[in-house]
Every structure is written in structure tokens, then in C-alpha cells.
Symmetry: C2
Subunit: 393 residues, 2 copies
């Protein structure tokens, strides 16, 4: 038995070819990807906050429909206020592995779980959950309709997309695939990761709208070789798509860019060159600022309480626990802070490296000059509304 | 018990409010819509030809996933070479009704059937079939992904859409709904039914492409208040979408129309007016001419055989049966003939009633002048490639 520790759980990775030069593949006997640890770290924080502070419920059910080693569901049981997990995987070896992992971990007594060896689609048609995680090998597109056709108002959904080359249109073949599976045209340029995330979010929104629903994107981002989105489900309101979905036009000649909400718009730039059109894609925020402030407020309030009880020397076990909880959510807040700062800018970014005026300046100085902020999509990516500074006249 | 006869079967319609002023609704205890008899007449002919002449198999399985009274599946068992039907309906009353209808009909001895009381989605995730019929109350969009995610090469799928007002963009609200659920903009004008059918077919093709598949539309048409499509499933080939999906632009000022396969195209007409853009939609044929010729060839060959056996006075029971079969398929051929004639024209039609030059002429004379054919979408609809005759200069 080869055990590894992740978060508060241990996982038997004997069947996951762990320790060899690691490229996750469908051929693994049991799927476990150590490179996704950060994704899971953020996820369990997010789910925990959702259960404790948003839903204020101890009765939420978490759906881990492509569970692999079960690591995510196990961490949900071990590290969050969610006590009920549905584990499922089509691979019978996975079910054995999850059973063994459930045994070797000292999980809380008051938890419940169910294990299924069915197709994701089949199980979703039967089981209701409060939080559904879609984290397939490859594109989530092929499973998204099953998730959204069965979703209810107030449900939380999280999605991982690892087909970033497709979403970014990294090659002509990828670009064609993006059009085929996301019904959207990507654009290979310095802003392609942001365009890619917005295509993913746009596709989620368009698919939800089909079923009379609409997403509220609480937290979404691009990292390493994946994109991640957490969203709650709302009822579709007349005009939601018109307000949030559109196209971005890029001019390769003069670098002018434009947001287009209309169905018909010019494909010729003011400079005379033909524009490259990306979309349809999401033009709204990729962090919900109300939700961000909710975490901020929660952390501040708890900190105040703790300071008060420290002052009164009332450091019982309860406040110790509270302290740990606050520290946890403070980590989530820190992760979201730079993302939140990106929300008041146009839906693209510039890479300072590509602009001689800024390439050799310190990034903070450049940011001051352009009245901009860093963008999380790339180390030298910046966002600004002073677009003329980056255009050629 | 109130019985009615349709095709070769009788149906107990006691629970279907039959005989009252008839508006089909979800509130019916058991769903049966007598107005869809013609749809079912054509369907059983089509399925029978598919089994006998195309697949040449007696082992096909037919999936009647929203069976209602079971009338379609019963007729498949009673009138075609298909011996195995999966009946399903979410409504338990339907299951009772189907059971009773199976009893009161004197069905062939060698048939098989299964009855399920599950969701369409759930059952499709489990059961494989050779022919899947999707005939929901309202739009098929909400179920199409379940059908196509589980489809295999060579499978036959038939779909009915009754949301024609949406597909035709009959009102602004319908038009917005079309954009939301079909990801396509309709166009309310004299050609809107054809645009509507092409939006339906385009949506089927785009959804199939997502799953690495592509439809071959064997027969599709608009009739009364529904649209119908029969298609076989092929593997997706690089460029299929580019070759078949695009937009149509209409000029309300000069009546010029244009087919656009490119992503970017002008939204201003040569006459200076703004164009109305419909799509993305299907720009290929809505009848497969190879398939049409196959039916034609089959009927001719069988007729020849029968004439020969009549000449030789060899009129055994077998040739009697053959004769009936040929007459049946001749009816399918007759239904398809005018549709087949429409395939060599531009993807829109004109209504003679709207054009003073032709409104008072006999339709056959008008057709000669414009070198056109009748179009099945409306009684006075015609197709022609001499578009300049219908434009204002």
C-alpha cells in the first residue's frame, strides 16, 4: 500500500501509478492527479464556506460523480461542514479504492456516504444533491447538459475544464474544436486565457439558459493547465443572456479591441484592417463581488469575536475552532483578492512583455502609469481601461 | 372503455379526454393526440422501410421514450418489421393504458416489449436502441443532448418539434426564446417556416457535433403545427459544420437574400439598408437524395417482381404481401417526391401571394416563368434560383 497525505486525509495510491513520471491518463487503474491539489484545497474551503456561512446548513449533500480515488469527497467529509457525500465512478477499481480510503481515514462519526458504480448521467437523473462537482478527464462540455438539466435554484455547481488549449484556440485544430464543442470562436493572442475562461463561462450560461436557469459566477479563474468555476443556480430572467453574452473584436493591426453586445457588428476596424472576432462569450464578472464581500465580512466579524474572547481570557475549545475556521476562510479571501481587483476592467488583458514602453519598467510603476491592476492569467498580464496606451496609432 | 382505431391498432382513449374539443395538454391523464396521426402514418412507413430495406434486419429495437398511450410503439409492432419496442413514460397512468392497449390488440406472436416508468434521461443512459424517437410535449431541445450523447453510428433518430412559433420567431418573445434555447436567431418573414426547420436541423447538427457525431437528414419537413426530422447518425468528419451551417441574410428593403458560410459577413445590404440575419442554421438538404433514390429503386424493383409473378400466374400469399409492402412504400415515396424536388434550390422560398407580378397567375404558369417548384412550407410558397425576379431594384 502506497499512502500519500493530502489535506486532512490519506489516500492509497498503489493503483494510481503514483511516483512515476506523472502524466494523468485514462489508462490509470484509479484516477488520482496530485497536480490538482491546489484546486481541491480551494474547493474544500469554498464548499465549507458555502455550507457554514451561506447555506448555514449541516445537511447538504455533495455529489462527487467522477470520484476516481475519492480524494475530493473524502476531503469534503474530513474538512468541511458537509456530512453527506455521494461517491460515483464508472470504474469498479475506483469503488474498491474509495472503500479502502474510507476505511484508512479516521473520518468524523456523524457522516454519511453512498457509493455507486454507474454512469454520471444515469446517477444524476436519479439523485438530488446540493453541491454538484463536475471534474471530468478532458472537456466538461459532454456532461454539462446532464448537470444543468437536473439543477435546481440555489444549488451550487463547480466545474473544472482541463481542455485549455481548445478554449484558448492554441492551434487551428483547437480553434475548430472550440467552435464544435463550445459553439464559440476563441482567439489566439496575449489575452487568450481570459477569452478562454469567458468562453467556458459563456457556454455554461448559454446551456443553463436553455433549461430556464442562469449561473451566478461566485468564483472562477484560470490556473496552470485548467480553468475552474463555482456558480450558484438562479432562475433565468428575461434579458439575462443579452446583458451578459457577446463578442470581443481584436484588431491585429492597431491592437484596438471592442466589446460587442449586439448580434450584428462591424468586422472591419476603424484602422481599415479586418478584425478577429472571439465569442460568443461571457462579458460579466468572473467573481461575484457581493459574495466576495460576504467572505470578507464573515472573516472580519469572526476575528472581532475572537479578539474579544481573547481579551476576556475566554479561550475555550469553541473559540479555538472558530479561530481555525477564520484562518481557513482568510486563505480563501486572500486567494480571491487579486481576482476581485480585476472585476472593474474591460474583459481582456495586456502582457507588458509585448510593449516596449513598459517591458523594462518595474510592474508596479507600469501599473501606476496605466492606472491598472495585475491580472491572474499570466505573470506579466495587466488590466487597464486606458486602452489607448496599448494601441498603435 | 372508449376505443378508437388508428392504422392497424385500437387505442383505449377513455383517459385521454377524447371527443371533447381537443387541445392536447400536459393535464391529460394519458397523452394521445389524434392530430398527429399523419405524423405517425409517415413514421411507421419510414421505420418499416428502414428495417426491411436499409438495415435488412428483424432484430431492431425501437425506443418509445415518452410513449403516452403507446400508440406509436403499438403501430411499430403491428405495422412494421420491427419486433422489439421499449415503452417508457414518467406517468404511471400511461403505463396502465399501454398495458391495456397491448392486451386489446391482436399483435403478432413473435414480438417483444418492455415497459418502464422512468425519466427519459435515466432510461436512455441505460438502454441501447436502434431507433430512438423523441416526441415530447413542447420543445425537443431539453432532451436532445440525452439522445445524442448516447447515440451510435448507424442509429436512426426521429424528432418532432411542436414549438414552431419559437422556431419561426412569430413574436419578439418567441424570437428571444429561440435564441435562448436553439442558440439561433429566427426571422419572421414569408420564408420563416423554412428558416425554422433549418434552425431545428442546425441545432441537431451542432449538438451532434459536440459528441463527435453528425446527422444525415434522410427526411425532414414542416407540417401543420409541427416539424419532423428523421436522421441517421454518422461519425463527425473535420469540416462538417463549416460545410453545412451558416446564416441567411434578408433585406427588408430590396428583398435581396444571401447565404453566408463565413463567421464574419456584412450586415448592410448592397442597397444600403440593414440586413436581418437568421441563424446559425442548416444550409444543406433536408431530404437525402441518395435515400430518396433508394426508396424509388426499391419500389420499382418490387413492382417488376410482382408484375413478373402476375404474368406467370404465380400469385402466392408471399407476392400478395409483397404487393402490399410495395404499395406502402410507394405512399412514402409520393409523400417525399415534392420535398425531394425542393432540394436543388436556395435555402428559402417566396410566397406568390406577396408579389403582384405573380399573385393573379395560375401557379403552374408562374412556376414556368420563374423556373421554380412548389415548396411544401405553404400553399403558395415557391422555390427558385432566379432571385432577381423577386427583388426590388
Amino acid at each position: 500500500m502506497t499512502l500519500i497525505k493530502e489535506g486532512n486525509v490519506v489516500i492509497d495510491v498503489s493503483d494510481a501509478d503514483y511516483g512515476k513520471i506523472f502524466v494523468p491518463s485514462k489508462k490509470m487503474k484509479v484516477f488520482y492527479n496530485p497536480r490538482m491539489k491546489h484546486n481541491r484545497d480551494i474547493s474544500v474551503l469554498f464548499y465549507d464556506f458555502w455550507a457554514k456561512a451561506v447555506k448555514k446548513s449541516e445537511n447538504l449533500v455533495f455529489f462527487d460523480g467522477m470520484a476516481g480515488s475519492g480524494v475530493k469527497g473524502l476531503r469534503v467529509l474530513a474538512e468541511t461542514g458537509i456530512k453527506n457525500v455521494i461517491f460515483n465512478d464508472l470504474n469498479p477499481k475506483s469503488i474498491e479504492n474509495i472503500k479502502s480510503n474510507l476505511k484508512i481515514n479516521n473520518l468524523p462519526k456523524n457522516i454519511h456516504y453512498n457509493l455507486y458504480n454507474l454512469s454520471f448521467q444515469r446517477l444524476l437523473a436519479e439523485k438530488q444533491a446540493d453541491i454538484v462537482d463536475l471534474d471530468p478527464f478532458g472537456t466538461p462540455v459532454l456532461f454539462l447538459d446532464f448537470v444543468l438539466a437536473n439543477a435546481r435554484k440555489g444549488e451550487l455547481i463547480s466545474i473544472t475544464a482541463t481542455d485549455t488549449a481548445v478554449l484558448c484556440g492554441a492551434s487551428q485544430q483547437n480553434s475548430q474544436k472550440c467552435e464544435r464543442i463550445y459553439f464559440s470562436t476563441p482567439s489566439k493572442n496575449e489575452s487568450m486565457k481570459e477569452t478562454g475562461l469567458r468562453i467556458l463561462l459563456g457556454y455554461i450560461a448559454r446551456t443553463a439558459a436553455k433549461y430556464g436557469l442562469f449561473p451566478l459566477f461566485l468564483l472562477s479563474y484560470s490556473k496552470d493547465h485548467y480553468m475552474r468555476a463555482f456558480f450558484s443556480i438562479e432562475k433565468y430572467k428575461q434579458g439575462d443572456l443579452d446583458r451578459k453574452i457577446g463578442h470581443i473584436s481584436f484588431c491585429a493591426a492597431c491592437n484596438k479591441r471592442k466589446v460587442n453586445f449586439e448580434q450584428c457588428f462591424s468586422y472591419v476596424c476603424e484602422c481599415g484592417a479586418n478584425l478577429t472576432i472571439a465569442g460568443p462569450l461571457w462579458l460579466g464578472n468572473f467573481i461575484d463581488m457581493g459574495f466576495y464581500k460576504e467572505i470578507d465580512g464573515f472573516v472580519k466579524k469572526q476575528n472581532k469575536k475572537i479578539k474579544f474572547s481573547e481579551k476576556t481570557k475566554n479561550t475555550t475549545l469553541n473559540t479555538q475552532q472558530q479561530l481555525r475556521a477564520v484562518q481557513k476562510f482568510d486563505n480563501l479571501l486572500k486567494f480571491m483578492k487579486p481576482l476581485a481587483a480585476e472585476q472593474n476592467f474591460l474583459p481582456w488583458h495586456y502582457n507588458l512583455h509585448n510593449y516596449p514602453n513598459y517591458a523594462h519598467k518595474k510592474i508596479d510603476q507600469a501599473l501606476q502609469e496605466i492606472k491598472g491592476v495585475r491580472s491572474h492569467f499570466d505573470p506579466l498580464a495587466v488590466k487597464t481601461n486606458k486602452t489607448n496606451l496599448f494601441e498603435k496609432s
